[in-house]
């Protein structure tokens, strides 16, 4: 499991990146969901460590965070869970955590990154750590080979160059202003953003925030290296609870059927 790298997700065409909030509706379901997502075709899995105050999230993922915390999900529970799915070989795609600065800081930066390495987590996305503050966790992340995933937003403009230049793992391209959540339209000029990224780096760039339909995923993948789907999956989990697994799989397959054109081209 130590051989898994984030770039593996981008080695066979455009990447389908699937997000799920850890511990929602409960830890048992999450533990079954992760291998099921891989089986359905997810190339990289993002697991949200629930936080009391997720300021980058819209209502769908906020509610999932509240449900998971109410069920008693902790950072340690999720580390143990990931360790199990790595050890039994049921998840072989790269896994990254999405959480906020405080859960990492309070856990202990060194202790957190060390645990990531031990359990087979490949990177962390921390929406409240911008470029200027990435030094906060960088030393510890580097020590244990954990990528800190950088983000660029529609407002980043000339910041894109310096962010892309230092980015590792993959670059998270935020598609729209605002918080996570399903959107009917994405109006940002993603192509232009990716062009600017390419001036500084050849790092894989995947687009997230607001993607819910296979058509949107395809449109985003057309101009980038992959599509990140979060709220749409969390909504299915919210709707079906412990019975969500086949529905999430079906959804991931639908998204993937649109991305297939790229997979076959390889």
């Amino acid at each position: 499991m130590t051989n898994i790298k984030i770039k593996d997700a981008f080695n066979h065409g455009k990447a389908m990146i699937a997000f799920v909030t850890g511990g929602d509706p409960d830890l048992e379901t999450t533990e079954k969901l992760l291998p099921a997502m891989e089986e359905a075709g997810a190339d990289l899995i993002e697991i949200g460590i629930p936080f009391s105050d997720p300021i980058a999230e819209g209502p769908v993922i906020q509610d999932a965070n509240e449900r998971a915390l109410a069920k008693g999900c902790t950072t340690d529970h999720l580390f143990d869970l990931v360790k199990r799915v790595r050890e039994n070989g049921s998840v072989t795609v790269p896994i990254v955590y999405l959480t906020y600065a405080n859960p990492i800081y309070t856990y202990g930066k060194d202790r957190f990154m060390k645990k990531c390495q031990e359990c087979g987590i490949n990177g962390v996305i921390v929406p409240d750590i911008p470029f200027e503050e990435k030094g906060e966790f960088l030393e510890e992340a580097n020590k244990y080979g954990i990528d800190i995933i950088s983000m660029i937003a529609p407002t980043s403009e000339d910041r894109i160059l310096k962010i892309a230049k230092e980015a590792t793992g993959f670059l998270y391209v935020v598609s729209s202003l605002g918080v996570t959540g399903v959107r009917s339209n994405i109006n940002t000029n993603i192509e232009k953003m990716i062009e600017n990224v390419r001036k500084a780096s050849d790092i894989p760039a995947a687009v997230g925030f607001g993607i819910s339909t296979p058509e949107q995923a395809k449109a985003m993948a057309d101009v980038s290296d992959g599509a990140i789907v979060g709220s749409a999956i969390v909504k299915i989990v919210a709707q079906y609870g412990r019975d969500c697994i086949p529905y999430v799989q079906q959804y991931i397959r639908e998204i993937n059927s649109e991305l297939k054109v790229y997979k076959e081209a390889i």
Partner: protein, 395 residues
């Protein structure tokens, strides 16, 4: 600005990438306008002719005599237009927003005083205004909600999390990430990402500057103690800032203990909090072992916040300021005491500082001087205090 927004280890800019250009533009604009003679002139004019500054430094003779110790002066921020110190910061930030070409302001509010001040200045300056307030706070401060609506603001009652100030800040931050181009976020306290703690402090430091001038005129010397209540900490930093270099002056911040700093029903951040990163800043926060922000409690909606501004965390760490925790009971007693004794009904927030003055003054000699900042007036709290005492009256 000092150390890129750091006060020792505290402070920083821990916010989503989407907001980074906005806070950097704000910093640039502020650095430009703070020394701009035209801006300073407009600000001074509004503070004097609209807010009613300078506020009085009032010698509380009956209170002094009754407590039998140090002489007590009250810095009357409650006499400002809109009834609290909040207007000092709001005038400054709205003026800045106008200069930056923004046409809309948003703000969080706890007790509603910052929301009222923002709605007021937005009305004056012709800015569109939207306020975010925890659902629980809209209920315990219903009068202020109606005031904001009267002033033309839209008030959003926030139903997530603890439905208090923390959740109002979350909602305002989320709103700002979705609409930046025409919108300025008027943060109400010395918290959040850089440059807010510095900007808000600079617009509030007039409190301490006036105290110094007024006390020198009345007493010919500096006070021995200045004190103020602390939630995020804007009236306290405003009170302290001009005295930081005067080592003979003791600085005391009074935070909300709720039902007691040794109970879970508390908002005493310095007494019970740990280092963390939240709401854009590294500071002290009430939280559990996994970094989940604690659901804090205080009778005072304005102090009911799980963190504290980074400059206070730093002043505490270097020992320049001391912080004490005051319970609901003590604050309510002080609220009633000042009303009865001096004919001044203070805000329940300010009553936390007054409660500590009541404890401290009798232990000091009569030739000592204490200045307490009365950050706001208590009209908004009357119905809640009545309920606390078991009387059902309606706002």
């Amino acid at each position: 600005m000092e150390n890129n927004g750091r006060f020792g280890e505290f402070g920083g800019q821990y916010i989503p990438e989407t907001l980074m250009n906005a806070v950097q533009e704000l910093e640039e604009a502020y650095n430009h306008y703070k020394d701009d003679p035209e801006f300073i002139k407009e600000l001074d004019d509004l503070l004097k002719n609209y807010a009613g500054r300078p506020s009085l430094l009032y010698e509380a003779k009956k209170m002094t005599k009754d407590l039998g110790g140090a002489k007590i002066y009250l810095k009357r921020e409650d006499l400002n237009h809109t009834g609290a110190h909040k207007i000092n910061n709001v005038i400054g930030q709205c003026l800045l927003a106008k200069k930056m070409g923004k046409t809309r302001v948003i703000a969080e509010t706890g007790a509603g005083q910052h929301g009222v001040a923002t709605a007021t200045v937005a009305a004056l300056m012709g800015l569109e205004c939207e306020i975010f307030m925890g659902k629980l706070d809209t209920e315990r401060q219903a009068l202020n909600v109606y005031r904001m609506k009267l002033l033309g603001a839209k008030v959003n009652a926030i139903e997530t999390g603890t439905k208090t100030l923390k959740d109002a800040v979350n909602a305002a931050m989320r709103e700002w990430t979705s609409r930046i181009e025409d919108t300025h976020y008027v943060l109400g306290s010395v918290m959040g990402p850089h440059p807010f703690p510095t900007i808000v402090r600079d617009f509030q430091k007039i409190i301490g500057e006036e105290i110094k001038e007024q006390i020198l005129e009345k007493e010919g010397r500096l006070p021995d103690v200045v004190m103020a209540c602390v939630g995020g900490g804007s009236n306290a930093i405003g009170t302290f800032y001009d005295f930081i270099g005067d080592e003979s002056v003791q600085l005391i911040g009074c935070e909300a203990a709720g039902e007691g700093a040794d109970t879970p029903r508390t908002a005493a951040t310095l007494a019970t909090g740990k280092m963390g990163i939240f709401h854009g800043m590294k500071s002290l926060f009430c939280q559990d072992e996994y970094g989940q922000i604690a659901p804090v409690y205080s009778i005072s909606a304005g102090l009911d916040y799980p963190g504290i501004g980074p400059e206070h965390a730093w002043l505490n760490e270097i020992g320049r300021a001391q912080y004490v925790a005051i319970t609901d009971d003590e604050a309510v007693e002080a609220f009633e005491y000042l009303s009865r004794e001096e004919g001044i009904i203070p805000a329940i927030e300010s009553s936390h500082a007054l409660a500590y003055a009541m404890k401290l003054a009798p232990t000091m000699d009569k030739d000592k001087i204490i200045v307490v900042t009365v950050s706001g007036r208590g009209d908004k709290d009357v119905a809640a205090i009545a309920r606390y005492r078991g009387e059902q009256i309606y706002d």
